[in-house]
Symmetry: none
Subunit: 184 residues, 4 copies
């Protein structure tokens, strides 16, 4: 039904003004204009609803980034990522700087791990899960900081930081011969 969308929209709107923890299911259904009982036909808890929203958005983000990365290079992936987030700034602000950050982070990590498992290069100097962990963590930390800025740093610059400080240090280890790599 369209109730499901209404719920997602309502939650996102509420998240703009209120920490996730203190949003109640009754708040959500009121905003969505549907009955209290109906909520439970879609999700068992409000956390689940948030998880679903997060998973969907993250999925989008990943697809874009991976596609760019495959077509061109690492940096293109980063650029795609930041560009996409920038295009949906309000929502990502909500997801990353509100009370929902923890959930989103976990979801993010889970999906990244799945991808890394498939594409992983196990012979790396760094244990692969650590690489994933640090890249995802660093990326999210950077994103969060960026989203919080009143006058955000330009994409070009933030991508450069991301590459130099978050991505390369991790991937570099894999090929000790090319210390600081590529493009830039």
């Amino acid at each position: 039904m369209r109730s499901a969308e209404a719920l997602a929209t309502a939650l996102l709107e509420l998240l703009e003004t209120t920490p996730f923890q203190q949003i109640t299911i009754r708040d959500i259904v009121a905003k969505a204009g549907i009955g209290y009982t109906t909520f439970f036909r879609h999700h068992a808890t409000k956390e689940e609803l948030l998880g679903a929203i997060a998973a969907e958005q993250i999925n989008c983000l990943f697809n874009l980034s991976l596609r760019a990365m495959d077509a061109y290079d690492l940096q293109a992936g980063s650029t795609a990522l930041f560009t996409y987030v920038n295009a949906h700034r309000p929502m990502w602000s909500t997801l990353l700087t509100g009370g929902a950050a923890g959930t989103v982070r976990e979801e993010f990590l889970r999906m990244a791990r799945d991808i890394a498992t498939i594409r992983g290069e196990p012979d790396a100097w760094l244990p692969p899960e650590v690489g994933t962990l640090l890249i995802v963590g660093g990326t999210l930390d950077l994103l969060t900081w960026w989203l919080r800025q009143p006058n955000p740093t330009p994409i070009k610059r933030i991508v450069e930081i991301h590459e130099r400080v978050v991505v390369n240090p991790v991937l570099q280890g894999k090929d000790p011969k090319t210390p600081r790599k590529s493009k830039r």
Copy 2:
């Protein structure tokens, strides 16, 4: 008086088995063997109690690390940090791998920022708060992963990873001429 310690101990014990969010104040006082009302004579909320515990532990950790760093070098600071955490593995596992991670992370960041403000070198290539953010975030992510391992990576190795992937990439930017410093 002795209630305060009992509360801290009880919360830490509970955290070993239960996510922080779903620990109730009543659980804590029951475990601590004190009256429900007494809890509020020490802390306004359970979050505050957790914050106090975290702040104390983090303070300890920082002092040690900073002292080592001042006396020798960056790497000595890292080594001190991981050594100390290793010596109190159960508690830090609880703090970082349980539901309390978010709070601890914030507390950590707050304290790190204070130190960075005092010792900061504002001419850096990277905005200084980003540097702090990424080092703290990366360190905690790495710590968390390390604490979760059944057979933990040796300290020497984890310090090496920390240095190479978390610390240096951030600090290096400050002086692009000396790309990868020290040991390695």
Copy 3:
């Protein structure tokens, strides 16, 4: 819903054994077999619940008495009153001889005053509110004593006492022709 009745019944039962003051809302809901919260969906305080019960019973009583008084005479009203109370002895015992007496008395007085205001004969020798006060007070004192007796005085006799000692002395002043009256 049926909760409301259950609450009233439960309170009356508890009042048979316990002073009102030291009955807790939790006692009432336990006896009534309903949830604690549900109490407040019906009444803001236990005093309010008692007031509602009292008002209902007193209303009954007044209607009966006034009807009798209108159809016949003062004494018929008294007789109706004592007869009705006698027919519901357990409940009125509870209301008047337990800790609830104060509330019932106030409620009684309030309703009596309303009636007196409508039917009042302002030219009386006695200030009219004093008349009401003394008749209500005397009637209740007498009732309370009567309800407490193990072998109650017969209705005929108690009505006689009521008439002679409570009602007539007050009303008599209004009719200068009757024996003991007047300015003096």
Copy 4:
């Protein structure tokens, strides 16, 4: 010690502005300027403190009235009573029109019964305890009304009412042949 007096005074002062029920022991000791614990060295509960105060005042009142009654006649007793209360209007207002009324009434009745038992004339038409009950009840109702008046009815008039409507109707019954009695 003088703590005891301080407590009594403090309670009476508080009663002027606050219903007895919602005065706390802590309020009383704060007003009295003594320690919380000390309260319990004198009284087990605040009700007991109130009872003690009431008993003392009522005792005073009774002695005066009885003395006047013995020396002269019933009416002199009434006059003494109302005169005394009038002389201590603020305190008796507090005792009778505040939340303490119930306790005072009971205390009053208890003492009156004791006296009636000693002086009682068992051959009365009215059961003697009913007589006591109605006189005490009526007297207190009348007193309460009188104390609540902004411009109180003169003592002479209130005594007349008291005599005619409260006292005589009860005592008269003992000898129906002599309508208005006096001395006896």
